[in-house]
Subunit: 195 residues, 2 copies
DNA sequence: CCTACCGATCGGTAGG
DNA sequence: CCTACCGATCGGTAGG
């Protein structure tokens, strides 16, 4: 009888990801990760340097993936309204497809070593700044009409979490249907009431 | 020289709250809490039963406070649009005034004992259901016009987190200004695009 | 990949 | 309110 999953860096990180998301970084032991893979804890160190190494690798890859998806979604699109809609859909779909990574990125920044935390924060800020700059550009061109563009940006960035919560609660819509609805919400948020 | 803060259940819970919010429940030791109060760890047990007791007490009180604030905000208000605006403002102001408790309620449900977790989940669901029922009522009366009322409810519930993030980043507006803006956003979200 | 083991820290108790 | 201490568990290493 062979092991259900081969043991390598990728499968170790996948197991750690699921446990970190469900129980938290501090609430997960190396033994927990090893047990999920049906090995003993010391064996993990053949594939990862440390528990902290796993956390950073998971978060860094998740941020790169989200940033790449945003780039891809916006490629060749000039209209600010279309940019905002597509950016929101990209964000929502990323949250729905990768809820474990997103939970970890939201919660475990505080568990990162002081040495590596700034690198993750920088990528998170880059993501936020892209959304904010779409909204600012739309306000400058007159395409959007909100008096509080900064607040609108934070509201839009939070929509992914709303979609994730809804999806986790077992709602019946497909991911694309949810993403489409939230893309519409984002466009509404950048319009002042009454317009 | 006397101690800066008197030691009683209330001050112990306040210290635990700040540390749980900043470092997480599992990332905070009884010694950490005791050190913040300038005593030794065993002394805490004169005021609380256990670490788990502190977590539950903090979360339960926070949920009761939020539910009470929502009741207060909606008292005597019949129009669904005004209800949704006031509910959103109440939610946002609660998030801005009590960011530590809100962070704990968002993150540490998984750290609750299996025996006490359902009680907290029930209160959180009660809160969500009130917001959802406002939106459903507004859709039924024709006051709102969204094709996806369930998704709108999750989006509105998430707005408080957006406000909290924005506030934590050092934005220059007052809490009431942020709450007012997010109250407007909520009303926009329950209108279909183009209406 | 394993067993055996390290020092450190954990929540909590005894007993005053 | 303290000191002293308990068993359990932690991340990680030695050595094969």
């Amino acid at each position: 009888m062979t092991r259900s999953t081969p043991l390598n860096r990728s499968t170790v990180l996948d197991a750690a990801r699921d446990l970190f998301a469900a129980q938290g970084y501090r609430g997960t032991s190396m033994k927990d990760v090893a047990t999920a893979l049906d090995v003993r804890a010391p064996s993990l160190y053949n594939h990862v340097d440390s528990k902290q190494d796993m956390l950073f690798a998971i978060m860094d890859a998740a941020m790169d993936r989200a940033l790449g998806a945003l780039d891809e979604a916006l490629r060749g699109v000039d209209d600010e309204a279309e940019q905002l809609r597509l950016a929101t859909e990209s964000l929502v779909l990323d949250f729905l497809r990768h809820p474990a990574e997103v939970t970890i990125c939201n919660v475990e920044v505080r568990s990162l070593d002081h040495a590596t935390r700034p690198a993750i924060i920088a990528k998170r800020d880059r993501y936020a700044r892209r959304v904010r700059s779409i909204i600012d550009a739309g306000c400058a061109s007159g395409r959007f009409a909100t008096a509080t563009p900064q607040l609108a940006a934070y509201a839009v960035l939070e929509l992914g979490n709303g979609a994730k919560s809804w999806f986790a609660s077992g709602g019946p819509l497909t991911g694309q249907q949810v993403a489409t609805a939230y893309g519409e919400f984002a466009l509404l948020v950048v319009q002042d009431a009454g317009h």
